[in-house]
């Protein structure tokens, strides 16, 4: 590779290394403080390592394919109007971290040098940066961590609708009980459907309602027959794929929403603090959040109760299915759950392909014989917790952020490639892979009914949410601040209010004054 052929500059490498270090530091904090995870059912650590390797070999090409249809920043703009797997943790942490940790593992195996796959690394991190900056454009940060562990994503017009349409509830009443039971069952089912991970759950906010109330937005995702093949059949009765619960909480401050979408509250959030609730569905075809069961208090309680029963039944059926799987099937399902954390990008762009997202690349599968339970546990612990792999050691003078030791989770790209050191630019094209799981049935539950993949992709390619068209797309919160009195602002707010029970047609004058 000659200097003239290089597809990156010094500044790009500086920026890429900054992003790598940012992910490395935050990942260490998350892994140290948020979890100690094990499972008697799933070989969790082993499947996590397999997913990292699959991500390293496949993400660059899959992201490039997505951007042939739609840019990362455009997908993120659309994502703010739906509760799908394009949030924290899926995009804010998983996408860059899985990719970089796959690289780190291969560095430790001696199969890569720090300068190899540099074009892929620069591209993946740039894709992530563009997505994140767009996703978080209303608060101007790259991540929840950078925002002080807060996820203030939504615009004023969406929050106005969410707050106005909340149904009040209190401990002991039917809606309170039903909403509480639904959130517990949905969490349980989501952990199971995502093979003992948090990837199907997230929380965002908090948003201030008044001196005593905060709004938390809770998303339960990939709940129906979707692009996770193990939900075929067992999730047939789940009416929508993504559920968003808006939750007003009394006298409880959510002081932390991390990049895994987990929250901490003071005092601890318990169900008795739930003061209001709403329910929405959405997906890449829905053009925003659609209220579900929100016609009345009774209808919403009945909807939660019905969903609760459906999810309990699905949980039992899914558990029976998984308990009968072979270890290879458990390994594949877990690895694919992690690997497909970014698959919604392809659904939004209308380029989802089963062979892209639901296969283990043979280059990753090659390492399966190493991934016994013990190696999985100790290698993952060294990789993300102890930072004791050789590639993670630094000059003895180093005092790393959080760790305070001469270590870093991820290796930077050496700048010496700009002055002639050789490198291999890319891992090359993805290779035909496979999985030990039954093939995906050609059924995808969406807000426009159950579709084949071809129908789903075609509709996604046609669909442009109205707020992402001219003249609305760049009408940001700063524009609204100074132009709230204009007819254009009024139309923008009315778009958001199309499905609102209480604000429909009110525009920028929600109180009708």
């Amino acid at each position: 590779m000659t200097q003239e052929d290089k597809k990156f500059s010094y500044v790009q490498l500086l920026e890429t290394n900054n992003l790598i270090q940012y992910v490395a530091d935050e990942s260490y904090w998350l892994c140290l403080t948020r979890t100690v995870q094990e499972s008697k059912l799933y070989p969790v650590s082993a499947y996590i390592l397999l997913s990292y390797l699959n991500a390293f070999y496949r993400y660059p090409e899959l992201l490039r394919k997505i951007e042939t249809r739609m840019k990362a920043e455009d997908i993120a703009d659309r994502s703010r109007a739906m509760g799908v797997k394009l949030q924290a943790s899926q995009m804010t942490w998983c996408l860059p971290a899985f990719y970089l940790l796959g690289r780190e593992l291969l560095l430790s195996y001696g199969l890569l040098r720090p300068q190899d796959a540099v074009e892929d690394i620069v591209y993946v991190m740039d894709f992530w940066k563009r997505f994140q900056l767009s996703w978080q454009r209303n608060n101007g940060h790259l991540s929840n961590a950078q925002a002080g562990h807060r996820a203030q994503i939504l615009p004023d017009r969406t929050l106005e609708v969410f707050c106005a349409d909340l149904f009040h509830c209190q401990p002991g009443d039917r809606l309170h009980q039903a909403a509480h039971a639904f959130m517990a069952s949905a969490s349980q089912y989501a952990f199971l459907a995502s093979c003992e991970s948090r990837i199907n759950l997230t929380n965002s906010g908090p948003y201030r309602i008044d001196a005593h109330h905060e709004l938390l937005v809770r998303d339960f995702m990939d709940m129906a027959e979707c692009s996770l093949p193990w939900l075929d059949g067992v999730a047939a009765k789940v009416p929508f794929n993504n559920f968003t619960v808006t939750m007003s909480v009394r006298d409880c401050h959510f002081h932390l929403i991390d990049d895994w979408g987990s929250f901490e509250a003071n005092p601890t959030f318990t169900a008795d603090k739930l003061a209001g609730v709403g329910l929405y569905v959405s997906d890449p075809l829905s053009d925003g959040y659609i209220p579900y069961g929100m016609g009345s208090v009774t209808e919403l309680a009945e909807t939660f109760e019905a969903l609760n029963e459906t999810l309990k039944e699905a949980t039992n059926e899914l558990w029976m299915r998984m308990a009968a799987w072979s270890r290879d099937q458990l390994l594949d399902a877990g690895a694919l759950t992690y690997f497909t954390t970014a698959k919604e990008l392809a659904h939004v762009a209308g380029v989802f392909d089963v062979s892209d997202w639901l296969e283990i690349d043979p280059r990753a599968d090659c390492f399966r014989p190493l991934l016994n339970d013990e190696y999985g546990n100790v290698a993952l612990a060294e990789l993300v917790g102890k930072l004791t792999l050789p590639s993670q050691q630094r000059s003895p003078f180093t005092m790393a952020k959080f760790a305070d030791r001469p270590v870093s989770m991820c290796t930077p790209i050496p700048y010496s490639i700009l002055s002639g050191d050789d490198y291999i630019p890319s891992t090359g094209p993805i290779q035909a892979g496979g999985s030990s799981l039954p093939p995906k049935a050609d059924r995808y539950r969406t807000t426009r009914g159950t579709l084949t993949l071809s129908e789903y992709n075609a509709l996604a390619r046609e669909h442009v949410p109205e707020t992402c068209t001219d003249p609305y797309r760049f009408l940001c919160e700063t524009w609204v601040k100074y132009n709230g009195h204009t007819p254009l602002a009024d139309r923008l707010y009315q778009l958001e209010q199309r499905h609102s029970r209480t604000l429909r047609g009110r525009g920028t004058n929600p109180r009708g004054q």
């Binding site: 100690v36 349980q188 952990f191 590639s391």
Partner: protein, 237 residues
């Protein structure tokens, strides 16, 4: 590691042995290619059978891997250390060296351990201990039902093993994880009292026990600072 100024060996001997074996393979492939890294970087040099050879060599030394998923043990018992029958033993009891115990108090309660309280409740909870350690046990409970005052003792901090039956327990003791592990999150969602990261001694299935769920919930920051916030576990007379 002579090509790395700062490298130290991995902490785990198994990781070191495994990675060294792969690095040996990589060096051989690189020599065969005349120093061209393309095949290694693009993942086309190594074959699955060569990687299987690494596992064979490890097992050939007599080493057997520790298992964590019971289904891993079920599928390939020959590569894992034996479970020793403890999983199905009706008289099994955890005997954690770190368990804090105390003689019977005036009410006859013997302290048999401690755990990290997930949520502070107004009162302690009492019930009958039941170890739930395998998917077969979960299946049995799905068929036969969970007793009305059952306190599950689980050594799995995940949320999947007990997914079909978790909501039926009056409380949970988990011998692993933290208050923010999946099981901790789920019990909080259900409103089920739960002690995580428990250290127990001499509690068996069928024992009547009491959990100090009125104790302070352990703040997540204390896992960094190392400050213990123990909630007690008693065997009742």
């Amino acid at each position: 590691m002579t090509d790395d100024r700062y490298a130290e060996a991995p902490e785990s001997i198994l990781v070191e042995a495994t990675h060294n074996a792969i690095r040996d393979l990589a060096r051989r492939k690189l020599a065969e290619s005349g120093g061209d890294w393309t095949g290694l970087v693009q993942g086309t040099s190594l074959t699955r059978s060569e990687v299987e050879g690494v596992e064979r060599r490890l097992l050939g030394s007599g080493y057997r891997f520790a298992w964590s998923s019971t289904l891993s043990l079920r599928d390939r018992p020959e590569i894992y250390a034996s479970a020793g029958g403890a999983l199905d033993d009706a008289t099994f009891s955890f005997r954690h060296p770190a368990a804090i115990i105390a003689p019977a108090d005036e009410a006859g309660r013997e302290q048999k351990g401690v755990g990290d309280n997930v949520v502070q409740f107004a009162a302690n909870v009492m019930g009958t201990a039941l170890y739930v350690r395998t998917s077969d046990k979960v299946l049995q409970l799905m068929r036969e039902g969970v007793g009305k005052d059952t306190i599950a003792i689980i050594d799995d901090s995940g949320g999947t093993l007990t997914a079909p039956i978790l909501s039926q327990f009056v409380a949970v003791i988990c011998a692993g994880g933290t208050v923010r592990s999946h099981l901790g999150i789920l019990t909080r969602e259900y409103g089920i009292p739960c002690l995580m990261n428990a250290k127990l001694s001499d509690i068996r299935s069928g024992d009547r026990i009491e959990l100090e769920t009125s104790a302070l919930a352990r703040p997540v920051e204390t896992y960094q600072t190392g400050v213990e916030v123990p909630a007690r576990i008693w065997k009742l007379p």
